[in-house]
Symmetry: C2
Subunit: 249 residues, 2 copies
DNA sequence: CGCAGAATTGATACATCTCAAGCTGGGTGG
DNA sequence: CCACCCAGCTTGAGATGTATCAATTCTGCG
């Protein structure tokens, strides 16, 4: 509100950065961190703000420090599909590419740790730790994208909703490192429309299926956004997945 | 036919390898290639054979030299979704992971250039050229996966078929480096069922939509598999995409 | 208080699935 | 050489899940 373009936000030392051990810089030693500090700056965004427009030139890459953002692609006639959900520690931007390929939108208040692209690219070439970590993260994202292709291509609306809730619950749990045994609870960082864009559904269908899952006791709701999962295995069954994968993998 | 487990196939020198400049080894110098030669071997598979079962332990990684393979994931009740289409030069396997995450099946006769995993992983750590190239390829695959999420989530059956044909046509054209101006022709490397698994449809719907596109003059068929595209822009329109992207990007 | 964005619920339309019946073409054995 | 066979494919008719259009109800906030 106070800043015209959100150019500054509470700066951190990398040392006490909340995503220090999960982000691209996870493997860097203190010397490498020092060099990163020189090219980094923080930006914050309010819920609803667009971070990057598809096609725009990108002169930075960065990590989500706190908050949630979405990656979406839109067809000419307006149909939109979310293709990524960016949670804290996720990386944004593609080294070696000029323009952005997707829209990036903050769905909650968002803080990003940005690096000027040119210096970062240069550092990637001479710092194997960064390239190695980025490769690892990209492979993980590719796996996640492929899981999501199964959801989009083969699951019913109900299974889709259950799958999305399970994913958010799981990622949320892996942040709050205290495993809340038994019941799980979290806030949905997405509107019904954003959920629909993620799942390839309409917002009406999302609303109906959420109601149905609530009526069937799979989830409980406090308000529209706060979700309680009494039995995670039950949720996984509804998602159509093997119930093997524990909360933390 | 002659070999029990297809352990050998016409070996190449890397020097005259058809995928030399596109595969994971694209950036390697002659010295690095020599070291790769030591850990590499060829395997060939007949159309229909399974290369890897999901969950199996993988002791190799490798590149598709010729032919086509698919990456598929199957739900407990048998619903299956293809999550990758592997064409010549594409990479198979994930360094740093024990088991395979997907089924890999040869859909045509297939030749792979395999590297024993342990030595390859070791070489990746000391050879930035390989890791850099692998990162680039993985980022490209991630982009392709995200494009595919739009297809799965938001396109109609007709648009899905047109999109798949466009993708195969484009990748096929980028192999036969002579751009056949005007008309395009190629062989479908997939059965109707495989196309259905790729697109999140049933094989009947695939068949109907292929017939419809043929009746509307968007494509011509010679037999069931040979496709002729008289007007590529028309096909792109049917796919619901911007008609900007040329054949080669 | 009342407005606006978000969400829910209802009625109907329609695209795709499902089940079922043939068709086609290439390979094989008699 | 032919008849048969069978996987792959096509086509049809009816069922069904989700989209669409429309009306209401929530909820937070100025």
């Amino acid at each position: 509100m106070l800043l015209p373009d959100n150019l500054t936000a509470t700066p951190h030392e990398c040392g006490d950065c909340p995503i220090r051990h999960r982000a691209v810089c996870a493997r860097c030693d203190t010397d490498e961190l020092l060099r990163l500090e020189e090219m980094k700056y923080y930006r914050s965004f309010e819920a609803g703000q667009t971070v990057i427009w598809s096609g725009d030139r990108m002169d930075f890459v960065g990590s989500v420090v706190s908050g949630v953002a979405t990656l979406t692609q839109t067809m000419e006639d307006g149909r939109t599909q979310m293709v990524g959900l960016l949670l804290p520690s996720d990386f944004v931007g593609r080294p070696g590419r000029q323009g952005a390929a997707y829209n990036v939108v903050a769905t909650t208040d968002l803080v990003m740790c940005c690096f000027r692209k040119k210096p970062f690219e240069h550092m990637m070439e001479i710092t194997p730790h960064i390239a190695q970590r980025l490769l690892q993260m990209t492979l993980d994202e590719l796996d996640a994208a492929r899981e999501w292709m199964v959801v989009l291509g083969r699951k019913t609306a109900r299974e889709k909703i259950a799958s999305l809730l399970a994913i958010i619950a799981r990622r949320d749990a892996s942040l709050h490192l205290v495993p809340t045994e038994g019941k799980l609870a979290f806030d949905l960082p997405l509107t019904r429309e954003a959920m629909a864009d993620y799942l390839g559904l309409t917002l009406e269908t999302v609303s109906r299926q959420v109601s149905a899952l609530r009526k069937d006791g799979v989830i409980e709701l406090q308000g529209k956004r706060h979700v309680i999962v009494p039995d995670f295995d039950r949720l996984m069954e509804e998602a159509g997945d093997d119930s093997d994968g524990g909360l933390l993998s």
